[in-house]
């Protein structure tokens, strides 16, 4: 920041009326639209204002531009899910220098650019669960592939690392991860990548797609090609998008946390950071509204992290309860 900017004056700790800006990867993405509901809910509860913003396409450039405008507006908190964890660091630092609290959620900004991370679920847990679910479906045997979002997305890449870690366990010795492909979170590209997988690996037994767009597109492709039942599918998906395929048995089970709760939690944490009730240090505890007591844990890089909870597993039994929620 320009050196002439005065150091942030310690505000008298107000209790409400904060401007909380939630910056998402891109607008029009079902997952984030659901998170917005949670943001609005929490903001109403705590008497804050929820500013929901995001670029038209999932780029770091667009997010930086938005964050800069938010800094100029002197919002109180910026809560980001990053298109690029590293590229956002400079502008996040600038925000912090301007006295704005920087929270990150979903896809985290690198540690240098954040004060607290609201983690939807333990990265390791998500990665391992997905492999476990798929292994169950295919009887621990056969070729599997991963269909991810963009190759630059941090959360997906971390999950994939953990999947590979889990696959090292001897009980998966008959499973072979043949490839990882990228659908860039575009519906048609993911669909075509899925078809490509079917064509190039005729013996494929299962696919993991740790992205809501990817798993829905893959399910569609399986349905169209009549491969449901022949190739198992799991991953992270929105119940509303996946209801059809879970009921048809194309995707027997998948996992996800509740994006509404994630938005809610992020907003609560943002509020508490702004009011000074928490500072983001590991060890602090707080009450997260309807979600109950939480403790801030160490994120492994010396910073604080809040866990939403274990991912929820969806299957034919419970999908109807959720398909109209998010």
């Amino acid at each position: 920041a320009p050196p002439t900017v005065a150091p942030p004056a310690e505000k008298p700790a107000a209790k409400a009326g904060f401007k909380i800006a939630m910056v998402v990867k891109n607008l029009g993405n079902p997952f984030f639209e659901a998170a917005q509901k949670g943001c609005n809910e929490a903001a109403a509860e705590y008497g804050d204002e929820c500013i929901f913003q995001g670029p038209a396409t999932p780029t770091a450039e667009g997010q930086i531009e938005i964050i800069d405008a938010l800094i100029a507006q002197k919002v109180d908190v910026i809560a980001i899910t990053a298109n690029d964890p590293d590229a956002l660091v400079p502008v996040c630092k600038k925000a912090m220098d301007a006295g704005i609290k920087v929270v990150t959620w979903d896809s985290a900004v690198a540690p240098a650019g954040r004060q607290i991370f609201v983690n939807q679920a333990d990265m390791e847990q998500i990665g391992r669960i997905e492999v476990q679910m798929l292994a169950e479906m295919i009887g621990y045997k056969g070729q599997i592939a991963i269909l991810s979002a963009a190759a630059t997305m941090a959360n997906q890449n971390t999950w994939i690392e953990w999947m590979k870690e889990e696959l090292k366990d001897p009980k998966y010795k008959d499973m072979e991860l043949v490839t990882t492909v990228y659908g860039d979170d575009l519906r048609e590209k993911s669909y075509n990548e899925a078809l490509g997988l079917f064509k190039s690996y005729p013996d494929l037994k299962g696919i993991i797609s740790p992205t809501t767009v990817g798993i829905a597109a893959t399910a569609r492709a399986l349905t169209d090609e009549g491969l449901c039942g022949k190739i198992a599918l799991t991953g992270l998906g929105l119940p509303s998008e996946m209801a059809e395929y879970i009921k048809s048995g194309c995707c027997k089970a998948m996992a996800l946390w509740n994006p509404i709760d994630l938005g809610y939690m992020t907003t609560v944490v943002s509020h508490l950071m702004a009011s000074g009730e928490i500072t983001g240090k590991p060890g602090e505890t707080f009450k997260a509204g309807k979600l109950g007591e939480r403790t801030i844990v160490d994120d492994g890089a010396g910073g604080g992290m809040v866990l939403l909870g274990p991912p929820f597993q969806f299957n034919a039994e419970n999908i109807d309860q959720w398909k109209d929620v998010y």
Binding site: P2, A72, P90, A151
Partner: protein, 330 residues
């Protein structure tokens, strides 16, 4: 000079000046600033105004040679991809242990080579530039992915990141703005004051006649595309310095923004016409409008819609006024 008796005098300098496109842009820029100032209390703040420029300096650096290329009757769709390729070459070689400044030179050279390939295909194989750069648009971005895959390069030294994030001394003036100002003046002089600039206009207006007049048309085209590649790479340097990191998908979709600005700046998309001041004004106009909308938290898609409308209205408006004027005269 033999001047025929019935000839009318040279059009008055005044009317020539008043009818210029640049004035329309100045007026629009003024209106945009006024609207922004009245809508948002945060707009008229020196720091904010200067910081606003961070967001479009990379596009602006590419817009300068793009104006040349469009005036010369061509187009370059590969600029953003070339930016990606050259930046990744720079970043990857830095990661491999090369000194950052040498890596930067390597990146600039890579961008120039990318541009040169475009130029050679256009000038020597005589393929339309739209077709060539549509191909290299995919190719260059692809090369960036081939080199870096899903990896990222971070940890650039602060002397390097200052190029994209820093300020000049203790002023609120961003370094990228200074870099752009330097090149804007340079390109402006090149276009309007040198023989090369004149030839660019001539080639844009009638390439055949230029060939028949002994103008080295091919060389001009090759130089222009190389220049475009070089400036794309430079924009990549600034952008990756601003991010402090580099990934293969950097600057995705810049090309349409750049072309929009150049065209709004009054450059004739069919070649032969346009000025540098116009392009610079348009860049700032779009920057200010976007910033104003961001301050009011207008969603990205709606911002794009309004820029699209601005483009169309700005082109329609003078025509409409002219028709109105000729009707009232009649």
């Amino acid at each position: 000079m033999t001047v025929k008796a019935r000839a009318v005098p040279s059009p008055s300098i005044l009317s020539g000046l008043l009818l210029r496109w640049e004035w329309l842009l100045v007026v629009l820029l003024g209106i945009a600033c006024m609207v922004n100032a009245s809508l948002s209390p945060y707009f008229l703040d020196v720091h904010n105004l200067f910081d606003m420029t961070f967001h479009f300096m990379e596009r602006s650096l590419i817009a300068l040679p793009m104006a040349f290329i469009i005036i010369s009757g061509n187009i370059d769709l590969s600029v953003a991809s070339n930016l990606g390729m050259s930046t990744i070459i720079m970043a990857a070689s830095y990661k491999a242990g090369l000194n950052i400044w040498l890596a930067m030179l390597l990146g600039l050279a890579a961008g120039a080579v990318g541009g040169l390939i475009n130029g050679l295909l256009v000038a020597r194989v005589r393929l339309p530039s739209l077709v060539v750069t549509l191909g290299t648009y995919a190719l260059y971005r692809g090369v960036a992915f081939v080199i870096l895959g899903d990896l990222v390069v971070t940890g650039f030294p602060s002397s390097f990141t200052a190029i994209g994030q820093g300020y000049v001394g203790h002023t609120p003036i961003p370094v990228p703005l200074v870099i752009f100002a330097f090149f804007a003046v340079l390109f402006g002089l090149l276009l309007h004051r040198t023989a090369f600039g004149r030839l660019v206009y001539a080639v844009g207006n009638n390439e055949t006649a230029c060939r028949f007049s002994g103008v080295a048309v091919d060389r001009i085209r090759i130089i222009l595309f190389t220049l475009s590649g070089l400036m794309s790479a430079l924009a990549g340097v600034v952008l990756s310095a601003r991010f402090g990191s580099a990934r293969p998908n950097i600057a995705l979709g810049f090309e349409l923004d750049v072309i929009t600005a150049v065209v709004l700046g009054g450059v004739d998309i069919n070649g032969g016409q346009g000025t540098m001041p116009g392009v610079v004004l348009a860049l700032f106009l779009i920057g200010v409008v976007r910033y104003g909308m961001s301050l009011k938290n207008v969603p990205g898609q709606i911002q794009n819609t309004l820029i699209g409308m601005l483009l169309i209205v700005a082109i329609l408006l003078p025509q409409f006024l002219r028709r109105l004027a000729s009707r009232s005269r009649a």
